[in-house]
């Protein structure tokens, strides 16, 4: 179910953390439900290919 701004500030946070693990750690320390994504860019980070992907997929 999609969230809203109001829901964000009133309901428990359930977080997807993309990138710096420290942010997920500090959320876990506060007992927040969080999944750590060790994020890797698509297409090995090739921006031209990423743009192409956006058109095709």
């Amino acid at each position: 179910m999609p969230s809203t701004t109001d829901a964000l500030i009133q309901e428990p946070l359930i977080v997807i953390n993309l990138g710096l693990k420290a942010f997920a750690d500090s959320l876990e320390q506060q007992q927040v439900e969080v999944v750590q994504v060790d994020w890797i860019p698509p297409a090995g980070g090739d921006q031209a290919v990423i743009d192409l992907l956006d058109q095709l997929l």
């Binding site: 500030i9 309901e11 977080v15 997807i16 994504v37 860019p41």
Partner: protein, 512 residues
């Protein structure tokens, strides 16, 4: 060189498994070669080609296991063969499941997620934020170097979907008692905050906590949100949400100067706000006509805190403007300790808002200040590494942080700069900020202490005294230990203040 062979009758092992066993054995120090094979004719030929001959081999059947070891010494051979069962045991420890690598995978694991916290490199950040919004999540966008066009596009998308985008370049939010990013540990209460200034949000919320009150929600909007191009999309959305939030009774807005159009719209919006609003627009000129019942203006973060306390029925806790008489005494003392050539102030900040607010306070006292992020464009430092007269440096600016950790996390760059400034005999005052809370350095003061003591020594050796002034932004709940950090500074002879505004005011007094 020694060789040893063992055969075991009627032991079937998968050939690939045996290759793994052989690999483990070859890791044993002193083993030169080994073979772990079933006793087929073909395998016996392999052993023969390795120069391994043994009567046991001739008798071995295809269903028998042969283990042959060639090692530096007989003792090693015996050791390996004696431990053969351990090698054959297999059963590698279960590997931890790897973390997901994409947003989609993360969503699969947490399909009910309501917030994406995004700190991927800037060139990919907008795309990920968009994915999160499309999936119905709010976004905390820490990444910066997102184009302003992309920022507008994602905020428009968010507005359509009634979702919130905090950022880009948003370092801090406190949502329903939870600190996201660089946040201090503050109690929950009824004061809401909307901030386009990260360390400003940290200072305001810390001081509210230190004064005994609490925060309902503190929403970071990202530094560019109040520009006319973006038009305060997140600011307005946050304001509306806090207006609707039953926990919030009073709203504080902390920001660097908004665009003129946006500021005007904001003031109008505040007029219609059902809850009292305190506006701290650092460096901005707000029309004095914009006075109405539920709107209070604060020129510094400290003033905003005091107003919030007053509106909540508490006593103002911070000295609003100007030094106390105790401070004035210290001012005289310090000034008299300087050598004749000492006259300049150098401020080195981890918090961009603190650099900005300090400039505002000094300028208001008629003290011109150069900076790499100047309030007044005429006072732009041509080389951020070369201070000039009175200079305040934002050490979290791009020129210092591309490819390097932010000064809030790691003090090495500030340490270098402190020592460099202390070599200048004209420097009289060093102004610093120390920021505590989640994700900040575990010991911000400790990282710089040696450099501070060294700098003071350098000044003394020249017959003068370096006055070091600092503020610590944090609460008694922060992991670094607020009291300890304050104490370390005091013991080092630093003039410590609870807020950046107080510290900057003290410097202004020193320079008058």
């Amino acid at each position: 060189m020694a060789t040893g062979v063992i055969t075991r009758r009627n032991q079937y092992y998968d050939s690939v498994f045996l290759m793994g066993v052989s690999k483990r054995i070859s890791g044993f120090p002193g083993v030169q070669q080994n073979a772990v094979l079933m006793g087929t004719d073909a395998n016996k030929e392999v052993l023969s080609s390795l120069g391994i001959r043994d009567p046991q081999l001739d008798a071995a059947q295809p269903s028998d296991l042969i283990v042959a070891v060639i090692a530096d010494t007989q003792a090693i051979v015996a050791d390996v063969l004696a431990n053969l069962d351990d090698y054959l045991a297999g059963g590698v420890a279960p590997s931890a499941t790897a973390n997901p690598h994409t947003f989609e995978d993360g969503l699969e694991q947490k399909p009910n997620a309501n917030l994406a916290v995004v700190s991927v490199p800037g060139e990919f950040a907008a795309r990920e934020a968009r994915k999160a919004l499309d999936a119905g999540l709010n976004v905390f966008l820490f990444s910066d170097h997102v184009s302003i066009e992309d920022e507008l596009a994602i905020k428009q998308l968010a507005a359509q979907k009634k979702l919130l985008v905090m950022g880009p370049g948003c370092g801090t939010s406190i949502i329903n008692g939870v600190g996201i990013g660089f946040a201090n540990v503050v109690r929950k209460g009824n004061i809401g905050v909307v901030a386009a200034a990260g360390t400003g949000l940290q200072e305001f919320t810390s001081q509210i906590h230190n004064a005994g009150l609490g925060i309902s929600n503190a929403i970071g909007t990202g530094g560019d949100d109040p520009s006319d191009y973006i038009g305060g999309l997140t600011t307005f959305a946050a304001l509306a949400a806090l207006e609707r939030d039953p926990q919030t009774e009073l709203i504080a807005i902390v920001s660097k100067p908004p665009g003129a159009k946006t500021l005007a719209k904001l003031i109008e919006r505040i007029r219609n706000c059902k809850k009292p609003v305190i506006g701290c627009f650092l460096g901005a000129h707000v029309d004095p006509q914009a006075q109405f019942e539920n709107f209070r203006r604060a020129s510094t973060i400290d003033e905003a805190v005091n107003l919030a306390l007053k509106l909540s029925g508490s006593k103002p806790a911070l000295t609003a403007k100007g030094p106390t008489s105790a401070d004035l005494q210290r001012v005289t003392q310090e000034r008299s300790s300087w050598a004749p050539e000492q006259k300049y102030l150098r401020g080195l900040f981890a918090g961009g808002t603190f650099c900005y607010q300090s400039q505002q306070i000094l300028l208001a006292s008629g003290i011109p200040v150069y900076s790499n992020a100047p309030l007044d464009k005429n006072y732009q430092l041509s080389d951020p590494n070369r201070s000039r007269e009175h200079t305040l440096v934002d050490m979290g600016a791009d020129e210092y942080t591309v490819g390097r950790p932010h000064p809030m996390i790691y003090g090495a760059m500030r340490k270098q700069r402190i020592l460099a400034e202390s070599d200048d005999p004209q420097v009289a005052i060093l102004l610093l900020d120390f920021i505590l809370g989640y994700n900040a350095s575990t010991d911000p003061v400790g990282e710089l202490l040696d450099a501070l003591l060294q700098s003071k020594r350098n000044a003394s050796l020249r017959g003068g005294n370096l006055t070091v002034v600092a503020s610590v932004c944090g609460t008694d709940g922060d992991p670094q230990g607020f009291a300890v950090q304050m104490k370390l500074l005091r013991q080092a002879g630093v003039h410590v203040f609870q807020t950046n505004a107080q510290a900057a005011s003290f410097c202004a007094a020193l320079l008058k």
